[in-house]
Amino acid sequence: MSGRLSKPAKTPAPAGVFTLVITGAPYSSQAPQTALHFARAALAANNRIDRVFLYGDGVHLASSLNTPPSDELNISAAWADLLADNDIPGVACIASALRRGLVDESEKQRYGLSASNLRAPFEIAGLGEWVASAASESRVLYFHKGS
């Protein structure tokens, strides 16, 4: 008998694979928190999250500069921890990000900007990342700001 742990069975798509799209900004909407609670519950139930995509105002979640008071949840840090701990790609749409002043090191250099502010492990990429999820068997859930 092998002493190695067996790999967990791959969760069957589409029931067990989710893509989360967050379009509501932190601190002006509850969308990032609602999505975080969903992600924690999904992972706890052995579901898989293949990607978190930030779009529109949702890209503010990936800022490394968000500094709420110490007695409030730092939702950007909480999301970054969840992504890193579970090896989930977190992608901010490049067009949304550049419009709103969220840049990584290479965009900083490309546009000659004074600083970059993308929080690891978030990445900046195109809408093709979302298209890949929409065209896959993943269930794509949207977290909007609400009306």
Binding site: A95, G126, A134, A135
Partner: protein, 117 residues
């Protein structure tokens, strides 16, 4: 193949959500994924002709919409009751737009439905 319906229910010029939803539709089309656009609620105001948003320093969304089918968006749809509510007769709508009734029969023909904002 999974067909996507992008629903724009926000009026133009008041926020970027509609434009960014349009970018989502164009992006699917660019990757040869079937996609249609539906305008409902105040979103039907996207379809008005002769828009002039220069005074609010925005670009007209008419050109973007005119390019939609060229870029491979399969259909542009407008919700009938919203058109009635906002005083848009079928003859007022740009050429490729079809008037439909928004409901479960329509949305169930798509495998993926996304709202703008």
């Amino acid at each position: 193949m999974a067909a996507t319906l992008i629903i724009i229910d926000q009026p133009p010029y008041g926020s970027w959500e509609g434009r960014e939803a349009l970018d989502m539709a164009f992006s699917l089309a660019a990757f040869d994924q079937p996609v249609s656009l539906l305008f409902c609620g105040a979103g039907v105001n996207w379809l008005r002709k002769a828009q002039n948003p220069g005074e609010v320093e925005q670009k007209s969304v008419e050109k973007n919409l005119a390019a939609a089918t060229i870029f491979g968006v399969e259909s542009l749809l407008a919700d009938r009751s919203a058109c009635d509510q906002y005083g848009l007769a079928p003859a007022d709508l740009p050429e490729p737009v079809m008037v439909v009734d928004l409901g479960p029969e329509l949305t169930s023909s798509f495998s993926h439905v996304a709202f703008a904002g």
